[in-house]
Amino acid sequence: MTLIDTRTPDAKRLIPGATGDWEVIIGLEVHAQVTSEAKLFSGASTAFGAEPNANVSLVDAAMPGMLPVINEECVKQAIRTGLGLKAQINHKSVFDRKNYFYPDLPQGYQISQFKQPIVGEGKITISVGPDRKGEFEDIEVGIERLHLEQDAGKSIHDQHPTMSYVDLNRSGVALMEIVSKPDMRSADEAKAYVTKLRTIVRYLGTCDGNMDEGSMRADVNVSVRRPGGEFGTRCEIKNVNSIRFVGQAIEYEARRQIAIIEDGGTIDQETRLFDPNKGETRAMRSKEEAHDYRYFPDPDLLPLEFDQAYVDELAKYLPELPDDKKARLVNSLGLSVYDASILVSEKAVADYFEKVAAGRDGKLAANWVINDLLGALNKAGKDIENAPVTPDQLGAVIDLIKEGTISGKIAKDLFEIVWNEGGNPRELVESRGMKQVTDTGAIEKAVDDVIAANPDKAEQARAKPTMAGWFVGQVMKTTGGKANPQAVNDLVKAKLGIEE
């Protein structure tokens, strides 16, 4: 592919070296496992964690005479993903054989797409930040292509002193290889790109995005150059399996390359591995002929063809994508861009929020989901899928605040009770006497009692009105936080004779 520079060098992204500033250029190839029941070309299951070689058909094991038949759902998933990346969908694509030898590749070749992929150019908008001013910067990253291919099996090397163990359960599982343009200029941008890509495929339901189980992994291409200069020689860091590691690998690799060039050396184009324990990249044992894949069209498979109506039908049922959802939350619910960004970043969070916000004040719902729910989840190390408070329960808490039945402060306590013990918030408020006291007589008595018990402080407060806050606090304490804070404030001032 021809490299086109879409970016203007920006001082804040440059890496200072001994001889001046450097700019890092990053492109990513992300392998995303297609969400499907069966494999790309066989009827074996794709389920994770099965017994060795249990999810293997004779096709996946490459027994002689076996023929691949494509799983139509995988084709649809690739098209959906292409639509989500605002990409060109190719009505005709071709499967090729990529030839290499490895024990976990029983065919001796991977069925992939080389010259004619199913999806062509598209784009993703990533959001980087917030910076010191709390601002986010939107950056467009080009997609070069997306193609369908088979995954290989898995080799385990630590079970035996002289043998490797091979399990073909993954062999033949459908992958989408999503190739970006070299449009990223910092580790943060690359991390934001993988995060956004994962969000998009999760919204679409085309890949579960679970990097722990290997459902998504990235090959990271890194090169450095003088700002705005000629592209340098790149190194490819293979199979990075977490977003954090993508960032670490880029930081390390960029500095390694800068150090070599500044010492008068040159960069060799090579494949490297990231070692998460040492936080460094190192060259893979070199295989000089490894890159000669001798691609040719797979004679077992006809070209993959469909018409625009087929694509349109899939487009019709595409779910709302994160960018569209964000725009809707900002425009129709009046949320800040910041809050909307947090809510849409995970589909499960967005779904939760929308249930809470349905028929309620969007901003209040957003505050509760972001500050209280996500805060508590984060603290407890829990996922939103396992949140102890359901959207209905949180919605009821918000309703109780809106009705004036409980104060905002009591609501926090109520939330904690629901979190720890469960139950119906409305019933809890009744049974535990948490209702807000709006009866002025009762509040008045509490104010009188506190003033009577603290004549010296009352004297001080008359001279220094800011002291009134102390009385408000005391009254709130004696009423167990159930008094309406505004009513208390007004009464304290009136009783002490403090002018507004």
Binding site: E37, P52, I70, S164, V166, L168
Partner: protein, 95 residues
């Protein structure tokens, strides 16, 4: 286009086929003869002609997304020279 002895040996190695020096010599001649025929075919002007992928005009066959196969690990590894708990065992390959 033609190939030399070195290329023939390299292609054989890429395909993991053991070829003796004599065979490589002989194959270089044979492959160049074949490439000669290909060159002849290359003389035909095929601009604008779609490559033929099937003798019969037909669409690619597709399957529905359902698990219809698997759970025969013992069969899968039955012919393997070395196995353990239904894993294939191969001489250690580690990067």
């Amino acid at each position: 286009m033609s190939v030399d002895l070195k290329t023939v040996k390299r292609v054989a190695h890429l395909a993991r086929i053991a070829v003796s020096e004599d065979d490589a010599q002989r194959m270089t001649g044979e492959l160049n003869a074949i490439l000669g025929f290909v060159e002849q075919l290359n003389e035909v002007d095929v601009a604008g002609v779609e490559p033929m992928t099937s003798v019969m005009p037909m669409e690619m066959k597709k399957r529905v997304d359902a698990v219809t196969d698997g759970n025969k690990a013992a069969d899968i590894v039955a012919n393997a020279p070395a196995t353990d708990e239904n894993f294939f065992l191969v001489p250690k390959v580690v990067e």
